[in-house]
Symmetry: C2
Subunit: 188 residues, 2 copies
């Protein structure tokens, strides 16, 4: 969905995720899934644009405005939200390169606060975590993850916890991260 | 909520709206209102970040990554969404400098399509329009505006239409665009 002229994409992705660009694969899979949902009129879910602070913009004559100085901002919310079967959906998606545990430092504290808030107002809120080396993608209810974080002193969640508390999302060619199938099963 | 170091804000705003920066006033009022709602735990509503295509990023040592080439992208959705009383909210906000009518060219066709889609899935969807010279801000149900657009051949909506079909939002110092009061009255 996002166009990077100049072929700079992989550089940008690599530096942003620090994982050799792998951070973008889950995002691409989710974009494809959300586009499928949209085209089939099943749900309306979008990834929010990356928040940037724009400092300088050039307005060359006869061509598009060019941003020449901008900085990444820390997001105050999760990356994805939308609507499905009259319900507000809200989630964050993360790739994890470890095979044994998911480091909690990957999710910002204000994102956890955001998930708590939307839960209070009636959202279906969750986190999608992909263990890249195991090629497994889990759907985790946000409340369950928050309960874990608030009762444990660990700085990470063991992989085995996802096996018991998460729902493995089966890979599907047209909808690579079919999270609505999990929502249908557990929330309706 | 958005910080523009360098004091470039007014230049950017003016050029972006083409209305001497006035386009940002409604946005600021809505940011203030949404922050108030958030702090009072009434609703969780955010403006989506401005979508930009990032082409070039510099990573200077010991300082933040600097975007040196990026372009504005056309948004595919509305600017605001969130949750209130278990319902998904979705809306667009526009300033209008004319005293007599609101030009339909201000709202992109794909934004109208987006509003139609979320309505089908059960959203509370609306448009907030401020007539800047009259200092009046109207709440308009998205379905009503879509019905007008699809049955009229006009390229604009007359101001008088807003007086009869819209709801005037009373100014409030702590919540300058108190759209939840309208939602409470007409949607619950």
């Amino acid at each position: 969905m996002v166009n990077y002229p100049n072929g700079k994409k992989s550089t940008f992705a690599a530096s942003k995720t620090g994982q050799g660009g792998r951070g973008m694969v889950l995002e691409q899979d989710l974009n494809q899934t959300n586009t499928f949902y949209l085209e089939q009129d099943l749900a309306v879910v979008y990834k929010k644009p990356t928040p940037v602070t724009i400092v300088k913009v050039d307005y060359p004559k006869r061509s598009a405005a060019k941003i020449t100085e901008a900085y990444f901002k820390l997001p105050s919310t999760t990356d994805y939200n939308g609507i499905y079967r009259n319900r507000y959906l809200d989630f964050e998606a993360k790739e994890c390169s470890s095979k044994t545990s998911f480091p909690l430092s990957s999710i910002h504290e204000h994102q956890i606060d955001h998930l708590k808030r939307v839960l209070q107002h009636g959202a279906i809120a969750f986190v999608i975590i992909r263990f890249t080396h195991l090629d497994e993608t889990y759907f985790v209810d946000a409340q369950e993850m928050i309960d874990y974080i608030e009762t444990s002193s660990r700085q990470s969640i063991p992989y085995t916890w996802f096996q018991t508390h998460g729902h493995l999302i089966a890979y599907n060619y047209v909808k690579p991260v079919d999270y609505l199938s999990i929502i249908d099963e557990y929330y309706f």
